[in-house]
Symmetry: D2
Subunit: 362 residues, 4 copies
């Protein structure tokens, strides 16, 4: 990962600010002849789109994506396919409200990147967070939709598994439930609880953190390239690059610190389709290489920093002041990070699939 590009063989470069002309990305290295319709990308984008419930920011934007390059109608079949050249995707910004930025223009919002962008670049785009806005993640979701097409046999799904201190009951995990509530929550009962819980937080103008889990099933063994291109290392990097993420773990994760060697190491037995593991504390990765088991990643998202309580801060001149950030925002930004996490998982797997195929020649 380097500046605004990630991936080695499957490379994604993103650009754009929250309130600029447009955001977008260039997907490079995609194999040719893969059927790709803009509707497939739009479908994933729609899952991430804000304004779909009272629990996400009320920014109303269609997030309509356009494909600018890299596809054409196949000369024989007429089906639109990738050509092997860079696929540029564009999403125009249409709901940049011409609001009054005087409050935040000169003050650093606690928990935001205001102070650090200013420290690094000598200025910052204060309009909607500029480049540091979560709006950038829409372009990742778009890229992820292409990555999924490279690995049709791999199923990448995500879910919210914790909100504040409240964890889901893993025994009640139902993937079908995820699409039925606004929290991407696989536990029906907990989803019902989150509705009132988050309403309370929302009404009080506060916010809360969350933990998400992304699972990839059908990943072939052998993906990942030790030592410094380990699959888990690249997944950690990918997830940590998502806005507001403060922690990443694989399989048993931090819980592994409390386990004994007997409890942790997954035993093996011969199965119908090769080796069968008796547990998956490894999260599908050993020595940085996929085992063939589901790849399981979790990440923690901090609470939205924009809240309705006045906070102590400093302004650009270095004077003490207070700030209260009004306006639309999510009481739990973690919710909408589910499609983003899925997209990053899909991109990392696609990249490693191509790299593995290059070196090994499967």
């Amino acid at each position: 990962m380097s500046f605004n590009t990630f991936g080695h063989m499957f490379r994604v470069t993103t650009f754009g600010e929250s309130h600029g002309v447009a955001i977008g990305c260039v997907v490079d290295g995609c194999p040719p002849l893969i059927p790709l319709d803009v509707a497939e990308i739009q479908r994933d984008l729609d899952r991430r789109r804000p304004g779909q419930s009272r629990f996400t920011t009320q920014r109303q934007e269609p997030d309509a994506v356009k494909i600018l390059s890299g596809v054409m109608a196949h000369p024989e079949t007429g089906v639109q396919v990738t050509t092997g050249t860079p696929i540029a995707l564009l999403i125009e910004n249409t709901d940049q409200r011409s609001k009054d930025y005087s409050e935040i223009k000169d003050k650093f919002r606690p928990g935001h990147a205001d102070l650090t962008y200013e420290a690094k670049y000598g200025l910052r785009d204060y309009r909607g967070g500029g480049r540091s806005s979560a709006r950038e993640t829409a372009t990742r979701v778009a890229a992820g939709a292409i990555a999924r097409k490279i690995l049709p046999e791999v199923k990448v799904r995500g879910a919210l598994v914790q909100m504040g201190p409240h964890k889901i009951d893993r025994g009640k995990w139902d993937w079908d439930e995820v699409a039925r509530n606004p929290f991407f929550c696989p536990d029906k009962d907990k989803a019902a609880f989150f509705e009132s819980y988050l309403d309370g937080i929302r009404k009080s103008g506060s916010s809360i953190g969350a933990v998400l889990e992304i699972v990839a099933e059908g990943v072939p063994p052998g993906l990942g390239a030790p030592i410094y291109a380990k699959l888990d290392s690249d997944l950690a990097s990918a997830m940590m690059s998502i806005n507001a993420v403060k922690g990443v773990e694989i399989g048993a994760g931090f819980g592994a610190a409390e386990l004994s060697g007997e409890e942790n190491a997954d035993e093996m037995r011969t199965g119908n389709n090769g080796t069968r593991f008796l547990s998956n504390n490894a999260g599908g990765i050993l020595g940085g290489i996929s085992t063939g088991q589901p790849v399981v990643v979790r990440f923690a998202v901090k609470p939205t920093s924009s809240i309705l309580t006045p906070r102590r801060t400093v302004d650009r001149k270095g004077a003490d002041t207070d700030i209260l950030t009004k306006g639309r925002h999510d009481p739990c930004v973690g919710i909408r990070a589910v499609p983003v996490g899925e997209a990053m998982m899909a991109c990392v797997l696609a990249d490693h699939f191509l790299r593995d195929r290059g070196q090994i020649g499967r």
Copy 2:
């Protein structure tokens, strides 16, 4: 990070297997004219060296490092300095016991990279784990010693903060204590407890996980390059690439998921030397860029997979079998990962320091 190289401006390429001729690394992109003595590198290596207590593997190896290139006596001062060309470091393997590998040669050890290397490459170096051995981390420590010299004003220190379910008392944190016990533990009382606790685990032939914390003080604000070269993203990648690591978190980390926006976002006040933060849940990083506060990273290390209890597994032919991995090994591999984590932190910071200087021109 790409195959066996990490970093962009400060680039480290490592090579070597546990029981081969030698291990080593090439450090490229180091600024010139930095005084560098082999003793400074050796000092860091000695902190990681096994066999220093009964709690680490009894492999007896001096791990004597040689500098092959990239330094010379300064023509005026005579002091040995870097020349700006690649610095190659070599550590010869001297204690590769000619032991009997017949037990592990054809069986996949649970929790080890045996199955995955075989799945990827079609063969694996079964002698001491080959490339997947933790021995590789010695080369990172060597590289980290050079990285530290690039940022003399930054203090990178690490400590063990949890072993099994037992966490240290953070109120008793004393950095001086870290060097006084074999656990790199900053809490004197807990260190005493770990002595008997780990003895019990060691004697029973079992193992246990751990959590380590690495802290970098004196990091200037502005390091890190959004969106895909965020400082926290690169740190996550760096730490997750260390053998046996299953989770990484920054600042409040997974704990941030349980916090409200009021609790989490660090407030600011004007201080004597610029902005003063009233807390450090951010772990010194906002929007992927350093704030000037201490950079705080924690990572979880799983328990050693080589234990004295027979385990179910399969062999290379796909038949069910059992395995028991005798021989020298650490009851808690997390212990020796402290110098490794410090080295990775130092390398990531040095890389970002040079990248930031390149783009911004400080």
Copy 3:
């Protein structure tokens, strides 16, 4: 250089096909606070634009560039400046004639990339050459305009120095002359000759090759990073990546093969501003690092492969056939490569300037 991205610190990613929706690029790593107006980019684009004389393709396109991201009005001065985040540039395609492609759709044009794209990707965008069209070079020119702003003290200029077998008289070199004729020719007399010479070629439906020279003055000593990021190595790569280029040379170039050591090695004497070289056979580069002298690169451009003479070829089914490529095209594509060569020189120098600053800390 990797797929559709070049540069390390100053990184340019381009996308788009000749007859698609749009072409464009993302410029990443640009320092912040550099004044940048879209008119400055447009000015360079206009120099490359086709249809300005009877000697270039009659494609009529304004090539109007838009800045999508990475700039904002400076909060204090109001001047539009770079923000340090990726600068996306877009040029919409407006003159994609809906011509009849049946002739070339199934036949491989000799000298074009038709056969090779088909061999690699299994299909090719036959509309106007798709991705292999020289139209892509417009995006390089746009990126180069930004690169020039990073190095305001460096003057990058280019000229045509040979057309077919006819070389200019270097004694008559006048930089001001370059803008006064449609050939970018610095020799007034030769420019007059080229007018009738190229008219003859154009009318006969033929084409001819050319040699261009790009000179960068004011390049500070010390740019370039041996061994595999030598300044000349990166310039060779950059120039060879331009469509139709078949050779690149630095300073004395191929002529150096005929020189003796006495003739070739540039002697030095103390000058007013540091070292003064008595000749510049090195082309401003020794050991891959700039000397402070003008950096001089020449490259050979082959003749346009689309000509009005029927040519022997094969079709997609593998059958022998003939082809005659009608339609607008340049009798000497080399002409319009001058702004492209300048842009590549500017980009390479900007990249090395930032890399050098990063490692050395000037």
Copy 4:
């Protein structure tokens, strides 16, 4: 190419100075299970080794290469094969004469990298040229020997085609002749001429330039990744990175500038094994992608800058002075660059083969 590493999937990192402890390289990304014996690497090194005739430097060094990692005996066949992990190669320096460097320590030799290393790094390793010595190219030859093993069906050969103003007669080209004379010259008569010609130059203490040609036969169509990873672009970069190279051309090269479209574009006819080209002005590459024809690259090597005639220069203090560089050196450094050019060709092809396989999945 980046600092001291080149290649993307097949990556080579080199290190070491002329008169340091050792030189070497790390070859990363090599596919596993490729038989590799140290003798195969040594064979290529021996072709480059100095001191084999009176026309090359009299440095007497065995250049014995050692493999430090990345290979093992195959568990079933016992044959030594690659493991897919980094292959480190080491060549110890044994003939670093403890000569008196006082003459060159403080003076900048014209045509050498002395001034530029000093300008960039603030110091330089004056012992035998340090990092800028052609000795570094031995490590490329070693890496190239591995690259050849990845593409056993590709035959990479090189020859000297011009010395000073004297070109070979291409009609007399005989590949077998190359190994029979000390010039790598494929024209027997010209080789006889070069013997007396170069003797004259050698005895007068002068030197002369040369042009080399590297040909790769059996390259499959489809290698190369437009736009910025074109095969010719990467070859240009690779050849230009070789010491003393000042120009690179593909196929007709600079000669293409003098051709008409009719003369230049290679016509096609159906052949027994796919498409047959009627000429090869393209040098086997169209649009940056291999055509299946032989890939043909030529490069110009400047004359050795170390000659026995006093030359005007400046010293480190900036004072005018003269210099005469005594000691062993080659009257025509171009000669020994033949195995180096072959190695770079092999490495670039191997890299592109793996990258193509990754993206396309052949």
